[in-house]
């Protein structure tokens, strides 16, 4: 029998992707397709006074210009705009009325026969505004931020524990620092687009760039006031999303409105600049205070965060809770405040709250180690905790100690000279830094369908998305292994709202959820096969029960005695069955007795030109403990991607807003910097063995997010070690290292 789970299997959709056969939302064509182009707001706050579309409408080939005044009806209740991942508040509705909430907000939609005509005409639409004073600067608004309250806000900080104030007063060493992370944008390579096919019966088939087809389907039905069967949403391939596709985005609504207005199929692809009006990782100011004894205990933690949200929704994640979770510490307090700015609502971006909260924590820990004259790794080992400190529960598994051990060994950490500025390579100062990472191992209810045919092929399907992570491939691997089939005999269907239920793909929960979902369904297939096998004359499995048999190499085999086996094909043929179809829902019972988390230890080497401040991240070792690894190849790619993003977070990424205009000025990927190949040197990924018999039957914990967590901190700490300069504001650009 072939094992597929845990192997380095190449992507089953790899060929389709590199040959262009894989189609993305903006690539589905149909005769008569019309094309739309957005006219975006040029002010941050106010009202639309007048829209003059006459010049646009007079362009040959322009079909219509939709505004809040002439669009087709759309729902008015907030609840209609709710979605699976919406924060509290009153969701944004495109072209709803004359209110302007943020720059780049869509104010009109030009629909034309060709994309070029639509774009040309969009430039001819004249919009007059009544402008109001705006604020887009977090620093200006920090004193007006309001506190999140447990009970009222779903991600309010955890309850404080102990008596932090007294513990700080008694602490031998205290460190306090303020850390800043700017707004960052997701910038997936694929532009946000929707192609809405207006079917002959008026139903809509929507090809959308999204991380959740069923979420978008429900949302569109609510917004348009249609029955569920009238809208089908598909997203077979997604060119990256990183959280920006979790919520239904405005291009889907606009394209659907246009299709309904014109009774024609319509495509809307946003420009890169317009995508800066979709959402972002909120900027945040974090203050951390740590109090420690000289003898090696961490006695108090205080973590305060101020994060950005919009005027109409309260987006927040728990940045502060990670501090109290990770290390043994009796006393902890937290506070989280939200500052309203005249920007669109932020949303999740890779490892939301952990990439940022753990950044602040892990830099603060480094500073504490310096104050205590302790090796940063030694410090973390002394504070190591085998229990989730916030909820005082054991972990279903936690192999962070092993990550530290294997990571530090691969890196050569024991050769580190603790003194900052102690190591040179010619004109460069060399620094080594490390950090821990943590993320949740989440799992969510999901359904999967398997259709097994007598010729030994299986189709496995689920409405989940593959946002580029490799979901197609792991679904095929799990199904092949569970059904005892060659990988090539399994086809996978996903990204279609008519398929079995799936939540949005995010939070690193899909791999664990869908794999266990497939295992459950495969179990039902096995039972059905056993039922058939038993009916054969002189069946070798006449007395076997379902959990005594497995599927391997086209056979139903007894686990006790491998000679007791029945051919699947024969069993099906014997009963005249040519296909077995099973669809099962899987839920994950959690009795709350254990915490489920993934962990990492990140070690980074930087070289900094002493005079010029030019920084190179010459080496990163990332040791990951994330339960059972389904596919070592795609998993490694995930972690490498996370590390590269962490390099960008540390050194490059920053959305630049001109606060005079309340407008993003680097809304393109020439000026919004992410790392390029030259910025990326050696990245060594280690997967630490981690058996977890508790988290779920297959022991999977997911690893989309964990790769980025801790990376920026490890780099910032390495820069301190190299230069003796502590930069707490990201990104660490060379001007911040000038003496």
């Amino acid at each position: 029998m072939t094992n597929y789970i845990g192997t380095a299997t190449s992507r089953i959709d790899g060929r389709a992707k590199v040959t262009g056969e894989a189609k993305y939302a903006g690539e589905f064509n149909i005769t008569g397709l019309a094309h739309a182009s957005v006219v975006a707001s040029t002010i941050a706050k106010g009202r639309i006074a007048r829209i003059d579309a006459s010049a646009a409408l007079s362009v040959e080939g322009v079909l219509d210009v939709l505004t809040h005044l002439n669009r087709p009806p759309m729902a008015s209740a907030d609840s209609a705009y709710d979605d699976d991942t919406a924060p509290e508040g009153s969701p944004f509705r495109p072209l709803y009325n004359d209110r302007i909430w943020f720059n780049f907000q869509p104010v009109a939609l030009v629909v034309a026969e060709k994309p070029e005509i639509a774009r040309f005409a969009a430039a001819l639409v004249r919009v007059e505004y009544e402008e109001q004073a705006h604020v887009t600067d977090l620093h200006r608004q920090r004193d007006k931020a309001f506190a999140l309250e447990p009970g009222k806000n779903h991600s309010a900080p955890p309850k404080p524990r102990g008596t932090a104030e007294q513990a700080f007063a008694a602490a031998a060493v205290r460190h306090r620092g303020e850390y800043y992370v700017p707004i960052e944008h997701h910038n997936p390579i694929e532009l946000f687009a929707s192609t809405v096919i207006f079917e002959s019966d008026g139903k809509l088939t929507v090809y959308d760039k999204t991380q959740g087809v069923q979420n978008v389907q429900r949302y569109l039905c609510n917004v348009l006031g249609t029955e569920p069967e009238e809208v089908r949403v598909m997203s077979p391939f997604v060119g990256g999303a990183f959280g920006s596709g979790l919520r239904p985005q405005f291009q889907a609504v606009l394209a659907a409105l246009a299709a309904r207005a014109l009774k024609r199929s319509v495509r809307l692809a946003l420009t890169r600049q317009q995508m800066y009006g979709l959402s972002y990782r909120p900027a945040m100011i974090q203050q951390i205070e740590l109090g420690a004894s000289a003898g090696g205990t961490l006695d108090a933690i205080a973590h305060d965060a101020i994060t950005v949200t919009s005027q109409y929704e309260d987006f927040h994640r728990q940045e502060t809770g990670w501090s109290g979770l990770l290390y043994r510490c009796a006393n902890a307090t937290y506070a989280h405040r939200l500052a309203r700015l005249d920007l669109e609502t932020p949303c999740d971006m890779r490892a939301p709250s952990a990439a940022t909260g753990v950044y602040a924590l892990e830099c603060a820990m480094d500073e504490l180690a310096v104050a205590l004259k302790l090796d940063p790794l030694e410090l973390r080992l002394r504070y190591y905790s085998d229990r989730d400190q916030n909820t005082d529960r054991p972990y279903s598994s936690k192999s962070l100690r092993e990550c530290y051990r294997q990571g530090s060994q691969a890196f050569g950490w024991d050769k580190r000279n603790p003194e900052p500025r102690s190591t040179r390579d010619g004109t460069e100062l060399v620094g080594w830094g490390m950090a821990s990472g943590v993320w949740e191992a989440l799992q969510v209810p999901i359904a999967a369908r398997i259709v097994l045919t007598a010729n030994g092929h299986a189709e496995v399907s689920c409405a989940t998305s593959d946002i580029g992570t490799g979901t197609y491939t792991i679904m095929a691997q799990v199904a092949a292994e569970m059904l005892g089939l060659p990988l090539d005999n399994v086809t996978v269907k996903l990204g279609d709202s008519t398929l079995p239920q799936s939540p949005v793909e995010g939070g690193s929960w899909i791999a664990a959820s869908v794999s266990n979902g497939i295992a459950t369904t495969a179990g039902a297939v096995r039972e059905e096969l056993l039922r058939l096998a038993k009916q054969m004359p002189n069946s070798a499995l006449a007395d076997a029960t379902a959990d005594e048999v497995t599927l391997a190499d086209g056979m139903l085999v007894s686990k006790r005695d491998a000679t007791c086996a029945v051919s699947i094909a024969e069993a099906m043929r014997h009963r005249g069955v040519d296909r077995i179809e099973q669809e099962k829902s899987t839920t994950f019972d959690d009795d709350g007795s254990h915490a489920h988390n993934t962990h990492s230890a990140v070690f980074a080497e930087v070289k900094v030109d002493e005079e010029l401040g030019v920084i190179r991240v010459t080496r990163v070792v990332s040791a990951i403990a994330a339960g059972r690894i389904l596919n070592t190849k795609t998993a490694r790619s995930q972690i490498i991607g996370g590390v590269v993003w962490g390099i960008g977070m540390a050194l490059h990424e920053e959305t630049l807003i001109d606060h005079n205009f309340g407008r993003i000025m680097n809304a393109n990927i020439a000026e919004y910097h992410v790392p390029v190949n030259a910025d990326v040197y050696d990245i060594d990924v280690i997967f630490v063995d981690e058996l977890d018999a508790i988290v779920n039957p297959l022991g999977i914990k997911g690893l989309g997010e964990i790769g980025i967590v801790g990376v920026a901190a490890a780099i910032a700490n390495a820069i301190y070690h190299a230069t003796g300069m502590r930069v707490r504001d990201l990104p660490i650009t060379l001007d911040k290292l000038q003496r």
């Binding site: 070029e116 040309f120 030109d609 010029l612 001109d658 000025m665 910097h673 390029v676 030259a678």
Partner: protein, 338 residues
């Protein structure tokens, strides 16, 4: 982006004739800057005159030992041309420090000279910008100006010229050949780009009805002691915060000729005869280089976010001169700064 017409010029005279006939027409070469600007509605040409088929693609030796580079030689072809690599490695190095391989394949010599600033506001029609819309104001002076100029600025505009190639051409004392309705003329490189003064809308002294036909390099190539040192926010594919083209001619332990041009600091590649004079007849030393950098930056003025550039430029000048004097030019592939 607006609707436009497209025509292809058959020869230089035809190109000149067509541009003179339509003041709203624009030449297109590689298109790597122009098309972006058209998409952002910053450039709104009535007509694109495609010059890519004109016979301006050769690199030829001139009678006085220099080279004449056709305006349509691509940045890639130029950087890897054997005569450039052997005799003007400073130019090759500066080109390879710019953009990406794909862009350099498209970018032409003439287009590189005439590329426009990367000032954020210039690209965004929702904001005032004197360069884009004379008289509307300069948003950068009180806005995001980390990338902006510290030398030769005016109250109307503090933009920089973004080219790397031009910094080397300025150091090498190149000449620009242009053709117009009145015939051909040559323009000294230092006179080609302008300072913003009160007319930031004009980047160069090329007349609207003229075409660049070639760039000419004099014989002196400084192939032994040169460097192009570009400091930027990531290790590749970013415009210069500060870049330095340094070229020295040494006789024994004495600098007999020095060229120093900076990118990323002004509306044009910045040269300073006094600073170069401060290097001549001196022995290469840290002290000499420091003095030259002091002189070079004596009038530098910052606008807030770009204050760091003055110090950075100083250090970059000194480092570049050290590299040039030692004959260890900066590699454009190994990102470690020598």
């Amino acid at each position: 982006m607006i609707n436009f017409q497209y025509v292809r010029a058959t020869d230089v005279a035809d190109a000149v004739h067509r541009i003179a006939a339509d003041p709203a027409a624009t030449f297109i070469a590689g298109g790597s800057n122009l098309i972006d600007l058209m998409k952002y509605d910053v450039e709104r040409p009535s007509r694109l005159i495609d010059i890519t088929r004109l016979p301006l693609k050769s690199v030829e030796e001139t009678a006085d030992g220099g080279l004449r580079i056709g305006a349509l030689v691509s940045n890639s072809d130029l950087a890897y041309h054997p005569l450039i690599a052997a005799r003007y490695p400073l130019l090759a190095s500066a080109i390879l420090a710019g953009a990406s391989a794909q862009l350099r394949n498209m970018a032409s010599t003439g287009g590189n000279l005439l590329q426009r600033t990367r000032c954020y506001y210039f690209y965004d029609t929702a904001t005032p910008c004197n360069k884009r819309e004379p008289g509307s104001g300069c948003s950068a002076i009180s806005g995001l100006n980390r990338m902006h100029a510290i030398l030769g600025t005016s109250e109307a505009c503090i933009a920089t010229h973004p080219s790397d190639m031009c910094v080397a051409l300025a150091a090498l004392d190149a000449r620009v050949h242009a053709a117009g309705p009145a015939g051909a003329r040559t323009i000294a490189f230092s006179d080609f780009h302008r300072l913003p003064e009160n007319t930031p809308e004009r980047d160069t002294n090329l007349q609207p009805n003229e075409i660049v036909t070639a760039v000419e390099l004099p014989a002196r190539g400084f192939a032994a002691n040169y460097t192009y040192l570009k400091i930027r926010d990531r290790l590749s594919y970013a415009f210069a915060l500060v870049s330095v083209a340094a070229a020295l001619e040494l006789q024994g332990d004495t600098i007999i000729e020095a060229r120093l041009a900076l990118g990323g600091v002004a509306h044009k590649p910045w040269r300073d005869p006094t600073a170069e004079a401060a290097l001549r007849e001196q022995a290469p030393s840290q002290a000499t280089f420091n003095r030259a950098a002091d002189v070079f930056l004596r009038d530098a003025k910052a606008f807030g976010h770009n204050a760091f550039k003055i110090n950075l430029a100083h250090r970059a000048i000194v480092r570049a001169l050290i590299q040039a004097a030692a004959g260890t030019p900066q590699s454009q592939s190994d990102k470690k700064i020598r």
